[in-house]
Symmetry: C2
Subunit: 365 residues, 2 copies
């Protein structure tokens, strides 16, 4: 039993819906022809609608890490003071990329499992000797399953005149993030999370008001150059070969999201999260993030019960129950498991997961 | 007639074989699990075999342009003198990327339609005031359908102690390029050319002897960092999410290449090229590159007959005969058409193409 049918619950890649799978089977086409331009025109329109942005959504053959690097080299200049608000492993990496490219990074590192607050960001900005040109922030911290209050933080960042660059790789399309309304200057995400498409597309949305900052940036860039991309995208083209089959998939995924309704998709993510969290609590297990107000709707971190190692639990879930979940990173290795529920995930998947988790823990004594 | 079934003959993306298509339909998996590590281990082995290299083959979610940028930022340092040997549009772009990142580029620009020679490269190297740290060379120039004598040029470059970085985006797997034997330090290519896989994978092979150069480079880098990639690839992992479904496809494509035999694949490309070139000549049309010795086996450029505009010929082939070919770039726009025959292309495709071309020209008077 439990052979063959696997349930993939890691925070990317996430399961691919049959509609997306089918779309990617369409014969490949020339990316310099009218049929491609029609596809890409529709795709840009749908993406702008989902990002809720007046501006541009840049589409790169890349992973989410590439999308982060693209924000860094298009918004920052060497030696420019920037604030990195990090609440976990992926925040640390975002800041590391900025440091590699010579930005003058001030770190606001908060405890893993907590969220940032507008007050703490305002304080860090106000006490800085030189005003920060930009604030780098994680929307959904995948290593801890915490979501930051981006709307409130954006307010204090914009009041202080800095650019706000948001890593929403694992949060976008799972939780609301309307860019224009919240005044977020740039948002990076990737295809293989809540966008339900295989990995290979990195996306960066830039709101119109932020474009000036891109024009004045001094970092060397070619592949990630938003100025070059904008020139091509304005006539529904790309500077170099786009990942055509993956774009077919993304286009179908966006159609699914709008057919369900973006708000309904966010509601479903919340419902699925609540169902899982309730079940975990009822089972007597402990949530790594007890506070529902900062608990991610993309994934949930569960403390591994005393006497069991996280690695064993992951292997038991994989090998016996065919459910693939993720472990903890750094000091959380072996101590938590992370169950993703972003994208093509529904209540039934969580019922199965809860039951399998109960069995697996029993198996391990 | 001629509805529905399209023949894609642009120099990337190229047609996807059913075997590759099927492989990409496999359910997606976690990239941090044993099943992925098994896939990636096999893939690395096959890639090293095809590049004929002792060293590393780095796999990026990227286009071919990304693979070129990766070579630049891992091999060059700001203000370092390098020689760009350009024989066309893609050579110009390779050099532009190096300039963007601050390399001190000396240009050896040759006429479009000609190939570089070892003598001319040796002369440029010998007369340089400061010795070049690296020579940047195109294997197959896609804009003109010319292949450079890489083996002979490598010899003079290595005798003079410079690194040799080769853009083989549209030549790799269509024509021989054994890295160790020819002493090529780095080769960049991409999935959507002779590798018969959809776009989205950028590849850079680095031979073992060249590793020292990578270690001393001063360019800022994170996404493209070979040092980071090598650390992860040594245990069959990647620093960030790889394009899993495309890697399934690439793995199947490599199996096809080795089943046919790499030498047999090169022979087929030559046979297909010869068949097309003979047919073009017999039809009374003119080849843009008359000399068979420098004519690419990946694609062929044909002069558009007097009185016809290239754009019209391309549209006629597309709309009536369902054959998609490429036009000329820059000053060759409207003057040539480029017919790709790399990857999953066989003699029958060229017979059809010749016949359709004959009809299309007749249609246009």
């Amino acid at each position: 039993m439990f052979a063959e049918k696997e349930l993939l619950l890691v925070p990317g890649p996430t399961p691919i819906p049959p509609q997306v799978q089918r779309a990617m089977m369409r014969p490949i086409i020339n990316h310099r022809c009218p049929a491609y331009e029609e596809l890409f025109s529709g795709l840009q329109e749908k993406l702008k609608r989902l990002f809720a942005v007046t501006g541009e959504v840049f589409v790169f053959p890349a992973s989410g890490t590439g999308a982060l690097e693209a924000m860094v080299v298009n918004f920052l200049s060497p030696n420019e003071p920037v604030l990195m608000v990090s609440i976990g492993w992926f925040g640390d990496r975002f800041g590391e990329i900025a440091e590699r490219f010579g930005a003058d990074v001030t770190w606001l590192k908060l405890d893993w499992g907590t969220a940032a607050t507008p007050e703490i960001v305002a304080e860090a900005m106000d006490k800085a000797p030189k005003p920060f040109k930009a604030v780098l922030l994680t929307h959904n911290e995948t290593s801890t399953a915490v979501v930051n209050p981006v709307r409130e933080i954006a307010k204090v960042v914009k009041e202080r005149g800095a650019s706000l660059l948001v890593d929403a790789v694992s949060g976008f399309a799972a939780m609301p993030l309307p860019m224009d309304e919240w005044q977020i200057d740039a948002v990076a995400t990737a295809s293989q999370k809540a966008l339900m498409t295989p990995p290979g597309i990195g996306l960066v949305a830039v709101r119109e008001e932020a474009w000036e900052a891109v024009e004045r940036t001094q970092m060397p860039r070619y592949y990630w150059d938003f100025r070059l991309a904008r020139k091509f995208q304005s006539h529904n083209q790309n500077p170099y070969t786009p990942p055509v089959t993956l774009l077919y998939g993304l286009d179908a995924a966006l159609d699914m999201i709008f057919a369900e309704g973006a708000e309904a998709v966010f509601e479903r993510h919340k419902r699925v999260r609540n169902l899982l969290r309730d079940g975990i609590r009822k089972m007597g297990l402990e949530l790594f993030v007890p506070d529902d107000n900062i608990a991610s709707c993309s994934l949930t971190a569960v403390k591994v019960p005393e006497g069991i190692h996280g690695g064993d639990l992951i292997r038991q879930l994989r090998n016996k129950y065919r459910i693939e979940v993720a472990g903890g990173q750094e000091h959380l290795r072996g101590k938590i498991i992370r169950i993703s529920h972003m994208g093509y995930i529904h209540e039934s998947d969580m019922l199965l997961t809860l039951e399998a988790l109960r069995y697996a823990i029993k198996d391990l004594g």
